[in-house]
Structures are given as structure tokens and as C-alpha cells.
């Protein structure tokens, strides 16, 4: 068993889990944070993206034990109370989601993108989404939502 001590969405948690537990399993099954999704088993789809110490990572390709000591933000921790993060608000305003399954990973990736590159052009936004699959939107409105946040300067 592995001892995991992490801060998740601002709250310190300590749990013992089986050694082979993936970070995404720890979040979903141990902590019940089911907003982070699993859409594949090869690290391609990006539905499981969370922030680890402020950077976007795929929580399906990391052991929970490797994350011990880190600060993690999941989609559940992105808004401030009832106030949506600008990226969440933009996804809503621009209809950047349909079934919603890829959405948490998309939003977490998009927030990280604007942290790294505050004013990306469309080609940069598209290239930066290569690790996130969406089957519903054709990415059109996702790109539009991210560009709108970048334009407003509210992404950070």
C-alpha cells in the first residue's frame, strides 16, 4: 500500500491506496471527484487532465504515489464558489461543449495553455489541443471559447 498526502482543490487529504493506483483512480474512486474522466487507456484523449502544481497533466498516466506531496486542482476546484472561472464561463457562452464528457479535461488544458501562452493565434490553440479529443463539437467552438478568453485577458 502507498501513503498519499496531497492537497486537492485546496484541501489536504491523506489516504492509503494500493500501489498501482493511478492518480485518476485516486481522484475518482478514493476521493469521489468524478468530474475528472477516463476516455481511453493510452494517454491520448485528455479527458483526465488536471493541474498538478499548476501545470496540466494527464492523471491517467501518473501513479497516485507519484503525486504525493503535490497540489492538485481538478475541474471541481476551478470555480471560486459560485463564480465560474473565465474559461468555464466562455465554454458556456460559446457552446464549446455538447455531451460534456471531454469538457473537464478540455477546460483544464485550455487554462494551462493561456497560462503558458496568453495570446495564442488559432493555429497555436489548435496545436495545443492535440492531446484532447472531442467527438461532439468539431473543436470549432472550443477554439472560439479559448480565443475569447485570451482576447479578454482574463485567462490567468
Amino acid at each position: 500500500m502507498a501513503q498519499i498526502n496531497v492537497k486537492v482543490n485546496g484541501r489536504a487529504v491523506s489516504r492509503q491506496v494500493e500501489d498501482r493506483t493511478l492518480l485518476v483512480e485516486f481522484l475518482r474512486e478514493t476521493l469521489g471527484l468524478t468530474g475528472t474522466h477516463v476516455g481511453c487507456d493510452t494517454g491520448q484523449c485528455g479527458a483526465c487532465v488536471v493541474h498538478l502544481n499548476g501545470r496540466a497533466i494527464k492523471s491517467c498516466t501518473m501513479m497516485a504515489a507519484q503525486a504525493s506531496g503535490a497540489e492538485i486542482t481538478t475541474i471541481e476546484g476551478l470555480a471560486t464558489g459560485d463564480e465560474l472561472h473565465p474559461m468555464q464561463a466562455a465554454f458556456h457562452q460559446h457552446h464549446a461543449l455538447q455531451c460534456g464528457f471531454c469538457t473537464p479535461g478540455m477546460i483544464m488544458t485550455a487554462v494551462d495553455l493561456l497560462r503558458r501562452i496568453p495570446h495564442p493565434d488559432e493555429a497555436t490553440i489548435r496545436a495545443s489541443l492535440d492531446g484532447n479529443l472531442c467527438r461532439c463539437t468539431g473543436y470549432h467552438n472550443i477554439v472560439k471559447a479559448i480565443a475569447a478568453v485570451a482576447h479578454s485577458g482574463a485567462g490567468a
Partner: protein, 788 residues
């Protein structure tokens, strides 16, 4: 209050839970004491099962049970069904073989489930599944539809000699033969419509709970049609009568057809939950999704068109072999027949059409409806032929289409369908103008200066949606009626709950259906909630597929709203002491025409429930239900224009512009409709350029079973789309809605391939048009433009 009714671009009500991580998908639902299932699957495409030894697995940590096909058969769990009977042209019924939820004697495709392992944790179930020893005797396999009927091909089911399920035909062969004999021009083309994997990003999942005291099941599952699931599990598979089975399809992460069907896994989980006495849950991993979600398309076709000296089409002849995989999935038989050949007239006035379709078994994953279902295949046939004809006859691709458009309605095609309305020239003109078609030659020359081959391609698609008039589909072999139901419950305070048999898995029904209510009663959409996806709440429903939720589902709601309005009006007239004929509903108020007397809708609702002062003989309450059975299919249509640049050195294709002009009839929420088009286009462009489900011909192994091997469209593969609409309201439903969910996937493959073929100066180009294929085609092309 801003306008929220029909036509308003309001953001979606359902978004908040998805953007904050509060969605409620099947795998998110906690169930106390649930055990986890893992399926043992065949690693072979075709083999006899010699024995299954579960002893090592049964001794593994945490294992609760291992159940096999023999035990399933002993418990008399029924076979999965195909619910649409097709008759061959000789009158014989289709040769459907049994599809056991767990294979007992033989496996027919890689991924065929053989046993279920149930353990306390997911990892324990996975570990134990590897310990189940299955001894197989391998048999030769066939995966190619054209090879399946050849003499000497491996025989998959004794019920279907030569692996042939049916040899079906539609149309007048004699008329077509005569048309061809007298025609000035013939063009022919061989086409392959590539097999696709639907790949909803949420994998299929099921959680089955059995209440032994009540003899009652609850099944949470990823379904587009929970009531149809309940019906099949009850009436055919026989697990429980309908009143003892609750099926809940909560938030569902995309379907695209693949979640219509009733699969082995939910069936086996239910049976296992009953046998083992505890809830059993299963969620597919992506490899299982690739192996077991019903695939789409997979046609091999030869098509010929005959034209007269004025370039008018006089006849169309089509021969298709459709691969249905190893077993017949729930609606598989209807896809290459009534959803395909009935659309072969396209947007054109074609006097004679004859189509022959052979459906075959192969040692591959079952094939069924996938976004568009038959209609993309029909559009690909017709629209590829149109371009080849234009090029051979030396006329413009838009001109040959214009010349053949149907211009008067209703129009009876020679292949069953009667189109109610349309204006094909309007959408063609809108698309050509938005795509700056007339200036394309200059762009081609400019691209050549940069060493690029630029091409432009059109597709004028038509589809049949709003599935479907029950009597008509019944006469064609459907095992179910295809109406929809709705119930409108007005609460005493005037808030409204709408119960619908449609199911939203991304389509935004919680918003658009509420907009319909807002339009009629003037209440804000926040005061309307849409209830769906639970057979204990909604009495019945046929679900969501075939772009039917607007045309059929909303028509049912509209009918119930009319009944609510009629009763509310009667009460309002009574309260205002006016004649009912003088009362009108306007902006959420009942008013007595020509006076200042008015009463808001919510006060009428309250009066209905207090029942202190109702018209004589009026029952208290305000709640009405309706079933709506459509009179006809609806016929969305439009024109797509794709412009590409090909790098002749690499064969790489870049889409530089994609323009869509669609006629969906009445549009409830333009923002949502555009989103549906964007998503459909991405799937159609994916089919044309990227996605090719590939089996190894010798072993029958699925070579493309992960996202590393199967190329899903990514953001960088696509462009921002240029979409617009023209409107001819549907004449056969009360709202004028035609449907918009599949158009993008239907029209775009032909537009993309026509554009690349135009760039290269070639006739045939198979999908997916990968860089290798395009490079080879460019090399082989004798057209001067490709010789650089």
C-alpha cells in the same frame, strides 16, 4: 426578459454541471457494495471453444464469481435480437443467427465475450480474468465483405450459407435497364465506404442492481433509448418483465448511434447481479470500445449512372455488399437497406433507380447505425458519381447538379421516399457564394505558384430524418413503432416539468425543449425542467437517433402543450368571465381580446390546483400527455463545399475552407444547430481523411484498436467552419422542424473526396484519403496539374 423562445440563441441550461465537474455519468454513480466486472474475450476472430477452466480465477483474491456462456444458457437468458426484418428479393426472410450474450460453443470475432469475472475491485477482476483458461480450436476467418460470399470462404453461421444474410433489392430493374439502353452517357464507379469506429468519448458502461425481495432490477446504462433497452431486455432477453425493470440512462457522453443498441455487457451484468446477489458494475476501457461498440459503414459498391444528351440523369444502378460483422446488432439490417437505398435519388429528379444490397457476415465486430446510418453511404455514391459525370462530360460540377435538381414538391422518388418540400438551388447558391466558388480558378493558380494542388468539391446531400411513421416502417419490417411521447406537468406555482421519451446525450434538449415551452407560455426557460432518461419517470419513449428529437420528440411535446393550453384557456375564460373564443394567450398571459382583462399563466395554474373556482365539470390539475406519430420522414438537405490544398510531394491534404449551407426547416436554437453541424462535419471529414478501421485479413485481428492506431480528428486536423442555413419549413410536422444532427457527417465525406479528386484530376480515391493514398493517386494521375 430577452426572447427565449423558438429561434433564440440562448446558452444551454445543462452546461453548468458539465463545466464544473458535476455531470452524472453512469460510471460516476456510486452504488453501495457494488462488485466490478471484467469480461473474458476471444483473442481469435473465429474459433471453437473447447473448454473454459475458471478454477484458478475463482481462487484469486477478491473474486466473487466467474460465469460462462454455458451457465447463461442454463439460466435461459435469451439471445440478443435484430429488430428489423428484411426479406430477400426472392421473398425469403433474412438469415439471422443467434447472438448469445456470452459465447458458449464458438467465438466469431476478436472481442466476443466468453465469460464474466466479478470481483470486489476492478483490479482484482482484471487480474482474475487473465487466469481464466479458455482452450480454443482456431478456425479460418474472413473479414472482407467482398470475400465473405466467395466459394471456399470460412462459414460463420450454419443459418447463413455463403455468409449471406439477405440479397435485397429496391426499385424497378426493368425501367433502369431500359433507361441505360437508351442513354447517351454512362458513368460507373467502384466505391468503398470505409468502416468506422464511433468512439463516443464516454465508454459504454452498465451498473446492474437486483432487489431480490421485489424481484426488481435497476440498470444504469449508457443508452440513447432507455425504454427500448427495457423492452428488449424484458420481451426478448427475458430478464424481467417491464414493470420489474427500471432503466436509467443518466448523463451520457456522446452516442452517435453506438449507444442505441442492446449489447451483451449490460445483459450479462444484470444476470450476474441476480445470480451473485450483489450489484455488478462494468465500464469499458477504450480497447473494449474499439472491439465491441457497433462499428459503422463498411460498404463495397459498384454504381452506374445514365444521362441523356442534355446531361439529365435518366437512370441509376447500384450494387452494394454491406458488412454486418459477426452477429446482427439491434438495427443492423435496416441500415444498408431502408436507410440507404431509399436516399439514392439525392436531390435529383431521377426517373429510374435500382439498388441491390447483399448483407454478409464476417469475423468482425457487429456493424450498425453510426451518425447518418446509410445516408452518408448513399450520399457518397450519388455525389461522387455526379462529380465523375461532370468531369467526363466536361461541365461544371455545380451546373450538372443544378440541371438535375428536383424543383416541384411533393416529389415521389422511385425509391419509396416522398419529399415534402425543399429548395436545393437556394442552399447551393448560398454555399457557392459563401465559398466564393466563382473565384476558385484564381485561387488554384495562386496555389500552383506555391507548389500546391488546390481542389474544390461539392456535395448536395439529402437525408431522411424524423424517423418515422410507425405504420410505414412496420410495413417495411421494423419491429417497433417510431412515434414519441411527452407529458407536460404544470405545477401550482406555474413552473413546468416536461417528461420526454427523447434522450439527450449532448444535443441540448434541456434547453431547446424548454425554449418550446417558453415560446408558448412565455415562462422563462429556467422555470421549465426537462425530465428524460429514466423509465420510472417517463412512461415510454423511442429515444434519440436519426435526428428525430426535434421533428418527432418536440412535436409530441407540442401536442401535449396544446392540450395544456386548451385547458388553461378554459379556466382563464371562466376566471375572467369571458367567452373562451374571446380569450388569447399572448406573452405568458391570457387576455380577453379588446379589453384590459388579463391573467398570467401562473395564476391559471394555481387556480387549476386550488380548484376553488373551475368551470363546471373541469377536473383539477394541469397535466397532459401525448403520443405523436409522424406522417412522413423529414428531408433536411443542403450543399457543402470543401476546398483543399494537396502537397504533391508528400500527399498531405490540408482543408483550407469548408462551407456548409443547410436547410433544416425551423430552427429552435441556432447556436445548438451550428454546434451539431460542426460536430457532424468533423466526423465526416474524419471519415474522408483520417479514420479507417482496419482488420488484418489473415488473422482477423483489429489492427486499429487504440487511439494511437485509429486516427481521430484532432483540433489541428480541422478548420473553423463557415456554416449558414436556408429555410423551407417541413410541411408534415406542426413545428416545421427537419432535424440537424447527422447532416454534417452525411454531406462532408463526398465534398472532401470530390475536392481532392478535383485537385489531383483523378476519378477514384478511397477513404480515408491518407497522405500515402493521395501521394499514390497523384503519381498515377495523368492530369497535367498533378505531374509536378
Amino acid at each position: 426578459m430577452a426572447h427565449q423562445g423558438i429561434g433564440a440563441r440562448v446558452p444551454r441550461k445543462e452546461d453548468r454541471r458539465f463545466i464544473t465537474g458535476q455531470g452524472n455519468y453512469t460510471d460516476d454513480i456510486p452504488v453501495k457494495n457494488a462488485a466490478h466486472a471484467e469480461f473474458v474475450r476471444s483473442p481469435h476472430a473465429h474459433a471453437r471453444i473447447v473448454r473454459v477452466d475458471a478454477s484458478a480465477a475463482l481462487g484469486a483474491p477478491g473474486v466473487i464469481g466467474v460465469l460462462t456462456g454455458a451457465e447463461l444458457a442454463n439460466d435461459k437468458v435469451g439471445s440478443l435480437i435484430c429488430g428489423w426484418m428484411i426479406h430477400s428479393k426472392d421473398g425469403s426472410p433474412m438469415r439471422a443467427a443467434p447472438y448469445a450474450p456470452l459465447a458458449r460453443d464458438a467465438v466469431k470475432y476478436v472481442g466476443n465475450a466468453v465469460a464474466i469475472v466479478v470481483a470486489e475491485t476492478k483490479n482484482q477482476a482484471r487480474d482474475a480474468a487473465e487466469l481464466v483458461q479458455v482452450e480454443y480450436e482456431e478456425l479460418p476467418a474472413v473479414v472482407d465483405p467482398a470475400a465473405a460470399q466467395a466459394s471456399g470462404a470460412p462459414q460463420i453461421h450454419a443459418e447463413a450459407p455463403n455468409n449471406t444474410i439477405y440479397e435485397w433489392a429496391l426499385g424497378d430493374k426493368g425501367a433502369v435497364d431500359r433507361a441505360f439502353a437508351g442513354a447517351a452517357h454512362h458513368v460507373g464507379l467502384d466505391l468503398i465506404n470505409n468502416r468506422l469506429v464511433p468512439n463516443a468519448i464516454e465508454p459504454r458502461a452498465a451498473t446492474a442492481i437486483y432487489d431480490r425481495a421485489e424481484g426488481r432490477f435497476t440498470l444504469y446504462t449508457t443508452s440513447q433509448n432507455p425504454h427500448v433497452t427495457r423492452l428488449v431486455l424484458s420481451a426478448f432477453i427475458g430478464l424481467a418483465p417491464e414493470h420489474k425493470l427500471r432503466v436509467v440512462a443518466p448523463d451520457v457522453g456522446g452516442g452517435f448511434g453506438s449507444k442505441i443498441f442492446i449489447y451483451p455487457e449490460e445483459t450479462v451484468c444484470m444476470w450476474a447481479a441476480r445470480r451473485l446477489g450483489m450489484p455488478v458494475r462494468w465500464t469499458a476501457d477504450r480497447r473494449e470500445s474499439f472491439l465491441t461498440d457497433a462499428h459503422g459503414r463498411d460498404h463495397v459498391t459498384h454504381a452506374e449512372m445514365a444521362l441523356d444528351a442534355n446531361h439529365k440523369i435518366v437512370g441509376l444502378r447500384v450494387k452494394t455488399i454491406a458488412n454486418l460483422g459477426a452477429y446482427m446488432s439491434t438495427f443492423s439490417s435496416s441500415v444498408p437497406t431502408y436507410l440507404y437505398a431509399t436516399l439514392l435519388s439525392g436531390q435529383y429528379d431521377i426517373p429510374a433507380i435500382y439498388a441491390e444490397v447483399d448483407a454478409v457476415y464476417t469475423n468482425t465486430t457487429p456493424v450498425d447505425a453510426y451518425r447518418g446510418a446509410g445516408r452518408p453511404e448513399a450520399t457518397f455514391v450519388v455525389e461522387r458519381l455526379m462529380d465523375v459525370a461532370a468531369s467526363r462530360l466536361g461541365i461544371d460540377a455545380a451546373e450538372i447538379r443544378r440541371k438535375n435538381f428536383i424543383r416541384s414538391f411533393p416529389h415521389q422518388t422511385p425509391v419509396i421516399m416522398s419529399y415534402d418540400t425543399g429548395d436545393y438551388e437556394a442552399s447551393l447558391n448560398a454555399a457557392l457564394s459563401a465559398a466564393r466558388y466563382a473565384e476558385f480558378p484564381a485561387r488554384r493558380i495562386e496555389a500552383r505558384g506555391r507548389g500546391k494542388l488546390r481542389g474544390i468539391g461539392l456535395a448536395c446531400y439529402i437525408e431522411a430524418c424524423g424517423i418515422a411513421p410507425s405504420q410505414a416502417v412496420g410495413s417495411l419490417g421494423a419491429g417497433v413503432g417510431l412515434w414519441e411521447s411527452a407529458e407536460v406537468r404544470v405545477n401550482p406555482v406555474g413552473t413546468i416539468e416536461v417528461l420526454t421519451g427523447s434522450h439527450s446525450h449532448g444535443q441540448g434538449h434541456e434547453t431547446t425543449f424548454a425554449q418550446l415551452v417558453a415560446e408558448r407560455f412565455g415562462v422563462p426557460i429556467d422555470q421549465v425542467s426537462i425530465v428524460h432518461g429514466d423509465t420510472d419517470k417517463v412512461q415510454f419513449g423511442m429515444g434519440t437517433y436519426g435526428s428525430r428529437s426535434g421533428a418527432v420528440g418536440m412535436s409530441a411535446i407540442n401536442k401535449a402543450l396544446e392540450r395544456v393550453e386548451a385547458k388553461a384557456k378554459r379556466i382563464a375564460a371562466h376566471l375572467m368571465e369571458a367567452a373562451e373564443s374571446d380569450v388569447e394567450l399572448k406573452g405568458g398571459e391570457f387576455v380577453v381580446v379588446g379589453t384590459d382583462k388579463r391573467i398570467v399563466f401562473a395564476n391559471v395554474a394555481l387556480a387549476a390546483y386550488t380548484a376553488h373556482n373551475l368551470p363546471p365539470g373541469t377536473e383539477p390539475g394541469l397535466k397532459e400527455g401525448a403520443f405523436y406519430d409522424p406522417q412522413n420522414f423529414t428531408f433536411p438537405a443542403g450543399t457543402y463545399v470543401c476546398e483543399v490544398e494537396v502537397d504533391p510531394k508528400t500527399g498531405g491534404v490540408e482543408i483550407v475552407q469548408f462551407t456548409a449551407a443547410d436547410d433544416f426547416g425551423t430552427i429552435v436554437n441556432p447556436m445548438i444547430v451550428e454546434g451539431q453541424v460542426h460536430g457532424g462535419l468533423a466526423q465526416g471529414i474524419g471519415q474522408a481523411l483520417l479514420e479507417g478501421c482496419t482488420y488484418d485479413k489473415a488473422s482477423g485481428q483489429l489492427v486499429t484498436a487504440t487511439f494511437m492506431d485509429y486516427a481521430m480528428p484532432r483540433a489541428s486536423d480541422l478548420v473553423s467552419f463557415n456554416v449558414s442555413t436556408t429555410v423551407t419549413p417541413c410541411k408534415t410536422n406542426p413545428l416545421g422542424i427537419k432535424g440537424c444532427g447527422e447532416a454534417g457527417a452525411i454531406g462532408s465525406p463526398a465534398a472532401v473526396i470530390n475536392a481532392i479528386a478535383n485537385a489531383l484530376g483523378v476519378e477514384r480515391l478511397d477513404m480515408p484519403a491518407t497522405a500515402q493514398r493521395v501521394w499514390q493517386a497523384a503519381r498515377a494521375s495523368r492530369a497535367p496539374i498533378a505531374a509536378e
